[in-house]
């Protein structure tokens, strides 16, 4: 402690190196405000006693308690006390720093005080909420307030700096979420870079045949957005591209994007002659086994960008496409391209993946007549092999009995997915209804555990499906087995409502596979340093109040990457993400509180321990000079402080002297209170 004090004196004599280093400060005059938080605190802590105790603490000029400090009246009470008693520091003993420090800091900064002169003491989460013991809670609250007052007395004013930021956003993922976010951002005048891994944009929505609850054609509904994004002057679309490196922080991310070669130039007119002559035919991934494509292809007719792609994995280098192309667009010499973008914010919209039911061996997924809902969508598409007809993939016959099976890979602890995808009930009901519409003589069974259709027009949609004559069976099939003696699929299920175990002999089984986090997201989330939920989706900042923020400043989440969502929810979520990502860019600057690391050059011995420890690379050192902290990059994490062998690096307002004062007060009051008991 003495070292730090000496350091303070030394500083004053030197020329101002850090503009905001502790100056000669006037005598601390602290005001203590103890909040009842209704019954949240006052129900356990004797707040009057705490306020009374605080009034005797050193430097405390004023102390009181109030029902709700964060109310307008509470804030006015603080401001009045500051003015009347000439307070220069405030301590509010209430809830968490995260929740209300900004509220009270603003209250005092409105009066001209530095906002950092406010100290928040959390006697709710850290005290009253964790015990019913009133006496112990009151004592703990007193100790915490005493520590807060001691810390407050030592606090230094800290500047807030405005940092200019790069006005550009990167949207990762070109599904409906990414498109919506990109469009909304671009419409605000913010340049957008849209990065899509696949050959075309549009994502899962373009694979669907109909959308609930209106049975609209999804391609028709999404294509204005697709075309809008493609032709928007402020949006740069990069397909076949992936984010390979991310550096920097909010406001100044430097993102490296690698683009795989398409082997077809953008002057492609999409005439399709290359595909006509291509001798190689393979399964089209886009159609999930229900369509074929050539080695040079467009996954579906409306694909954007409307350019063919050469798949070198299957290409036999015959060169037919090169010869036949009327505009010489096919070019085998194209190579991988790496580009770097500076962006202010990033929106992650990498979507979901359909659960692969192979793992549930009892369901025998892999048999041609056992398909998933996404495969059903492709079967119903007019561009695939079935030409939109519902048939048994094994023999092309019209199915007489179809079973739709819900909760495949959702609500299943065995496969590690405890959650309910929440979309499949509507998804399954929709396809069951479409099957019944196409084939009125076919029996359609719908095996479910619970029907979950909350929201406007969803229950009505369910009712419409019931009217069509779909047989709803409340029970989860135990096994789905191809009959070895015939060509039927045997579905064993109990109708739990009549207690009847039964076997349905089906021609076609459609599995409502859940939504899971996309494969490969781990790599991207590691590059972006995002926290993930145990299910693999990206974790939001706060489930209620921050669903579009990620765990990292400046990175936002749009759509199903935050958790399973239907299209309606995805579009709304993406709009929210776009507005959150646009907010700092529209403002044009970031406000950063400079309670960052600061180096005392006289104490520093240039060991460079801090430079190597800093996780964000905020400390740099030039030839022959002492290390310097980049205030903008510093995250105030404090990792550098213990790395310094001489105590030369400190975090403003977390200096050793300040923390020592806090801890000493905590301990000395404890001794006092215990002594009083005896």
């Amino acid at each position: 402690m003495s070292k730090s004090e000496k350091k303070g004196k030394q500083r004053k004599t030197r020329k101002a190196k850090n503009k905001d280093e502790p100056a000669e400060q006037e005598r601390p005059r602290v005001g203590v405000f103890v909040c009842h938080c209704g019954e949240n605190i006052a129900g356990v802590v004797d707040v009057k006693d705490v306020a009374e105790f605080a009034s005797h603490l050193p430097n405390v000029e004023y102390s009181t308690d109030y029902l709700f400090m964060c109310s307008k009246q509470g804030i006015e009470l603080i401001q009045k006390a500051v003015k009347e008693h000439g307070l220069n520091r405030t301590v509010v003993a209430s809830c968490s720093y995260e929740q209300h420090w900004p509220t009270f800091a603003k209250a005092i900064s409105d009066l001209g005080l530095n906002p950092h002169m406010h100290t928040q003491v959390n006697i709710r989460e850290w005290c009253s909420w964790v015990t019913d013991d009133k006496k112990a809670a009151t004592e703990k609250a007193k100790r915490m307030v005493a520590a807060g007052v001691a810390r407050a007395s030592k606090k230094e004013p800290v500047a807030t700096r405005k940092i200019p930021i790069t006005k550009r956003t990167m949207v990762v993922g070109g599904g409906v979420a990414g498109l919506r976010a990109a469009m909304d951002l671009a419409e605000l005048g913010i340049p957008v870079v849209l990065v899509e891994k696949e050959t075309s944009i549009g994502g899962h929505m373009t694979m669907l045949n109909k959308t609930f609850p209106t049975n609209e054609c999804p391609m028709c509904t999404v294509s204005p957005l697709l075309n809008g994004v493609m032709s928007h002057p402020d949006i740069e679309v990069l397909t076949l591209s992936e984010v390979t490196n991310v550096e920097g922080t909010m406001g100044h991310f430097v993102v490296e994007v690698t683009t795989k070669p398409r082997y077809v130039h953008d002057n492609c007119t999409s005439c399709g002659r290359c595909a006509d002559v291509c001798p190689v035919e393979v399964e089209n991934e886009w159609d999930h086994g229900f369509g074929m494509r050539k080695a040079i292809y467009k996954p579906f007719p409306q694909a954007l960008p409307s350019v063919f792609t050469l798949d070198t994995k299957h290409c036999i280098d015959c060169g037919s496409c090169v010869i036949v192309c009327p505009v010489d667009a096919v070019d085998f010499s194209m190579t991988k391209e790496e580009r770097t973008f500076e962006v202010g914010t990033i929106v992650v919209a990498t979507g979901y993946e359909e659960y692969d039911p192979t793992e549930i061996t009892a369901y025998h997924y892999g048999h041609p007549d056992i398909i998933t809902q996404l495969q059903m969508e492709r079967m119903l598409a007019p561009t695939t092999l079935t030409k939109g007809k519902i048939v048994r993939p094994s023999n092309g016959e019209v199915p007489k009995t179809v079973v739709v099976v819900q909760c495949v890979g959702s609500r299943n602890d065995q496969v590690g997915n405890e959650y309910c995808t929440g979309v499949c009930c509507m998804f399954g009901i929709k396809n069951a209804g479409i099957i019944k519409d196409h084939l009125p003589d076919t029996e359609v069974y719908f095996c479910y555990i619970d029907i979950r259709t909350p929201g406007l027009y969803y229950e009505e949609y369910y009712k419409r499906a019931q009217k069509k004559g779909i047989r709803f069976i409340r029970g989860r099939p135990s096994t789905i087995t191809p009959d070895p003696t015939g060509d039927k699929i045997r579905v064993e299920v109990e109708d739990t409502l009549t207690h009847m175990p039964m076997c349905i002999e089906a021609d076609l089984v459609v599995l409502s596979a859940g939504m899971v986090a996309p494969r490969g997201f781990g790599k991207l989330s590691a590059k972006l340093e995002l926290l993930r939920a145990k299910e693999g989706f990206a974790k939001e900042y706060h489930v209620k109040m921050g669903p579009v923020r990620s765990s990292r400043d400046g990175v936002y989440l749009a759509g199903a990457i935050q958790g399973p969502k239907d299209i309606t929810q995805t579009v709304a979520h993406a709009g929210g993400a776009a507005s959150a990502a646009a907010q700092p860019l529209v403002q044009g600057f970031l406000e950063k509180r400079m309670d960052t690391a600061v180096i005392d050059e006289e104490l520093c011995i240039s060991c460079l321990g801090c430079v190597t420890t800093c996780p964000v690379g905020a400390i740099s050192v030039a030839e022959g000079e002492k290390p310097k902290v980049n205030d903008v990059a510093c995250k105030s994490c404090g990792a550098c402080v213990p790395a310094c062998p001489v105590g030369a690096i400190q975090i403003r307002n977390f200096r050793d002297s300040q923390l020592n004062a806090e801890v000493s007060a905590l301990l000395s009051v404890a001794a006092e209170l215990e002594g009083g008991d005896e």
Partner: protein
């Protein structure tokens, strides 16, 4: 015959038997976590032919009422572990049925056939005691008439009887045949 033979069921929390829930939880089956999806019943090779409805047994167990112990259906489980293998909530269904059976027999709820087996064990030390035919065959093969098991040591049988599972008598108000 009256049509009003089933009085309305009144749920009396006082009749809840906490031991049932505790026993099941110890066996790895929290009956409150069951979502009644019916995967167990649909998996059950016994239930396809008999009155055994695994899901229903688990539902009754969730109410912790003694009916679940006196229910003869719990003895129809073949302990094949198919339900255990497939439960989407990963509950240990088969172990729960075994635990229920243990608790049921400790209270005297056990089918006549199983009870007879226990009685034979007490009486002879064997679940399947020796009979005249076997005695004859043994003699023909030149073996002693009785195998060198507890048959040859009647004093040991008495000791065995003391350590064996003691089956309490059937509760008086319970008639298995009527329940069926």
């Amino acid at each position: 015959m009256s049509v009003f033979k089933n009085p309305p069921c009144v749920l009396d929390s006082g009749k809840r038997d906490p031991t049932i829930e505790e026993t099941l939880k110890a066996a790895g089956f929290d009956p409150n976590l069951c979502i009644q999806c019916g995967t167990c019943t649909a998996s059950c090779p016994s239930g396809r032919w008999t009155a055994m409805r695994t899901r229903e047994v688990m539902r009754k167990a969730a109410f912790s009422i003694e009916v679940v112990l006196s229910d003869p259906d719990i003895w129809l489980c073949t302990t094949c572990y198919q339900c255990y293998d497939r439960c989407p909530r990963d509950l240990q269904v088969t172990d729960a049925i075994i635990a229920l059976r243990n608790l049921a027999s400790a209270r005297g709820f056990i089918s006549d056939k199983h009870r007879k087996t226990v009685d034979l064990l007490h009486k002879t030390g064997h679940a399947v005691p020796i009979n005249d035919r076997i005695r004859k065959i043994r003699k023909e093969l030149g073996l002693p008439e009785l195998p060198p098991t507890v048959y040859c040591y009647p004093e040991e049988l008495e000791k065995l009887g003391k350590t064996l599972f003691q089956l309490p008598p059937r509760p008086e108000d319970h008639d298995e045949e009527e329940e069926r």
